[in-house]
Symmetry: C2
Subunit: 434 residues, 2 copies
């Protein structure tokens, strides 16, 4: 049986997992492709690994892998965007296919890199860049290719999903759970990237590009983290029948596309609202297929390796067939992308959860309702608690119908001017996803 | 822009949906492929359809489509296995690619047809044959190709899922809901194929073949329908924390593969237990990726058309690239299939839900427990109801640990011999899917 040679750059969690799975399932993978996948070269800037390295070259310089004539596919798992970009460019220029799990690299520099790949008749595969082991890139690019996609909604960051799940199930507060997530290895020492939604935004940009045929546009995603979510809001949301999820949302509107990452109330009756802990899920709605949902592990050594190797298999099957893979990088062959602007956040449409602190006296609620009514905003649900002993203020929680963000913001500003409303008004978006 | 010509055989629900979606989304689909998909020929044994047929040939003889030199891809949507088999064979022999939604055809005759296709350097695509719009064939064959699959569990028949959901939510009985399902068009006039699990068995055989690399073996699936499920069992299951789902299960064991379709108690904490109504879902567990779940519409005109067209797109992208698709029909390039026998039902392992009618007198429960204990079967949960007024018998419900089917059967036979146990003992399998 012939073999195809893979060079792995970076031997961290995913690199190690990829090597392990390729080794363990070598027979099964070879049977699927009809040719063996041989890891011929590993590069790691750290010390030499403990792997059995017979017949396998090891370098500390990742570029040595690109330059190795004994490597057909370069697997980029070093992370970051600076060195990784250089590495991928060089591999392409050497006529090698590239597999990467690097969402930041694809989201920020994909456009340029894909053009280089096409010019060099190679492919860059990146199934592992979004939602770990869930084959969502393949589903969007191939399985749902018949559809005009209306919207997609994803739990695409396991760290924030873990934190929100713990907050809900145990009534704990954000800082407390974050500390535990760090201890468990679910969150980085510097968790900014995850909890502020930057990681999710990268993934959303990639998904939206494939779903709608729009260019990768990292700078246009609206981004709100989960750091401000209070246990009390998790509690009230639950009482009203909702779980709070940190969603990436891409929605097609007449005027353009909404691209937004933020905490979101989702009805518990939706399956995606019940995807808990570190699990990921992506809901895609197409005009023909309706709603489809994809769930699985969004991170971790072997789930991510599963997608890295799926890409290797895809390339190997094509190479054996004498061609580069025929699926366009971003799902559309026409490089002239869809003429859809990304809408500013003020122009998006959503329902809203509002929580405010109101003085416990007659007429306050009626004032609030009047402001909303004058703005054309309907109240879908309202909860007002009885004051506890010695409390002069009571929490008022309400859910609105679907309105423009601009309108809810101006209504909130007006409510804030009411004498009997104190403190900041909490606003969390709500998506029925129905 | 060049175009690829499609001939559609059969203009029922799915054929009509395929034509509609291809027409409505023509621009978007062309942009994805880089070439237009043109329906050049439609054949239907019924009267000429209402479609705008300019530039489109219409035949009443489906074989005219195979023989039309102006057709590149034949879409077989006539159903059945006799004429359909002949049609697909002839299309292949004419060097045409085939797309089909026909699960029975693939499950029963796929082996032979795929060999013919390979010999003629064309492909037979069948994403629509399993779980309608859910791209599960693609996920198994490509997205999860790195994995040694441990097991898969699918709700792959919308009719039975609708009936079981209604029975649970409204406490109705089987015959009553079936009548409604027929009125709604969710069940056929002759519902045997769906409710006895034959349809699900066909789909399971296809999924299992791709998951494990085993041949298609329709005759070896164990098959149990939902006709015997009583409202009282749906009720007790729910009380114990389970929903009853009609699952197709394929499980890899040391000795072989379990292939079985039957009603199954699934813990409500599992997402798949909450996939209700006519929706479908497939849970796949791989050694690298862990558990992944795929949900969506399992039938209907446009969801099924979504998968039919995904296959057309897949073929078109390959043809444009100058080759037949490089993905093996059943996911494995090595025709020498895995040496895994299908286990007889007596050799499967499962937990069990048992319901029996016991005389309301001391010592009965202890006798039952003793029989189970002597057979090495543990009781995980037990419910005994107080007798109602004038009742001399009480229902006893128990859940067992995981045991061999042979052992539970012989224990049931022994319990049946007890004087104080009357009526048939109800046995339903239980899968934790954890």
């Amino acid at each position: 049986m012939e073999s195809l040679k893979v060079g792995i750059c970076g031997l961290g969690t995913v690199g190690g997992g990829t090597f392990d799975v390729l080794t363990r399932n070598a027979e099964e993978i070879a049977a699927r492709i009809g040719c063996r996948i041989q890891v011929s070269h590993i590069a790691s800037r750290r010390a030499k690994p403990q792997y059995e390295l017979s017949g396998l070259r090891f370098s500390e310089d990742v570029f040595a892998v690109c330059d190795d004539p004994d490597v057909d596919i370069v697997v980029e798992l070093i992370g970051g965007t600076s060195l990784a970009r250089e590495l991928v460019s060089r591999a392409i220029s050497r006529g090698k296919h590239v597999v990467t799990a690097n969402k930041a690299l694809i989201a920020e520099y994909g456009g340029q890199l894909f053009a280089e790949a096409v010019a060099n008749k190679v492919t860059i595969a990146f199934e592992a860049a979004v939602a770990g082991g869930i084959p969502i890139i393949g589903a969007l690019r191939e399985g749902l290719a018949a559809n005009r996609v209306h919207c997609l909604a994803g739990i695409i960051n396991g760290t924030t999903n873990f934190i929100l799940t713990e907050m809900r199930d145990k009534g704990r507060d954000f800082a407390d759970v974050l500390k535990e997530a760090q201890a468990l290895g679910y969150a980085e020492a510097d968790p900014t990237f995850d909890i502020e939604g930057i990681d999710a935004a990268h993934k959303l940009v990639i998904l939206a590009s494939i779903a709608f045929g729009i260019p990768l546009q990292c700078d246009k995603v609206f981004n709100e983290g989960i750091g401000e979510i209070q246990p009390i809001d998790v509690h009230y949301a639950s009482e009203l029948g909702y779980n709070i999820k940190h969603l990436g949302l891409a929605v097609r509107r007449d005027q353009g596309v909404e691209l937004r990452v933020h905490p979101t109330l989702v009805p518990k009756s939706q399956l995606i609202a019940n995807v808990d802990g570190v699990m990921n899920a992506v809901l895609v709605k197409g005009d023909a297929v309706g709603a489809t949902l994809y769930c699985g592990a969004g991170a971790g050594a072997e789930p991510t390796a599963s997608s890295v190797i799926a890409d290797i298999v895809h390339i190997a099957r094509s190479v054996r067939n004498g061609r580069a893979p025929g699926v366009p990088h971003l799902g559309f062959a026409n490089t002239q992308a869809a003429n859809l602007p990304i809408l500013p956040i003020e122009d998006i449409e959503s329902s809203y959860y509002l929580r405010m602190s109101a003085e416990d006296k007659p007429g306050v609620l009626s004032q609030v309702c009047q402001v909303l009514s004058e703005a054309g905003i309907s109240i879908e649900a309202l909860v007002q608690r009885e004051p506890q002993l010695n409390e002069s203020q009571v929490p008022v929680i309400l859910l609105t119908n679907i309105v423009r963000e601009r309108d809810i913001n101006s209504a909130i500003a007006k409510i804030h001017e009411l004498e009997s409303i104190h403190q900041q008004i909490v606003k969390i978006r709500l998506e029925a996803l129905g």
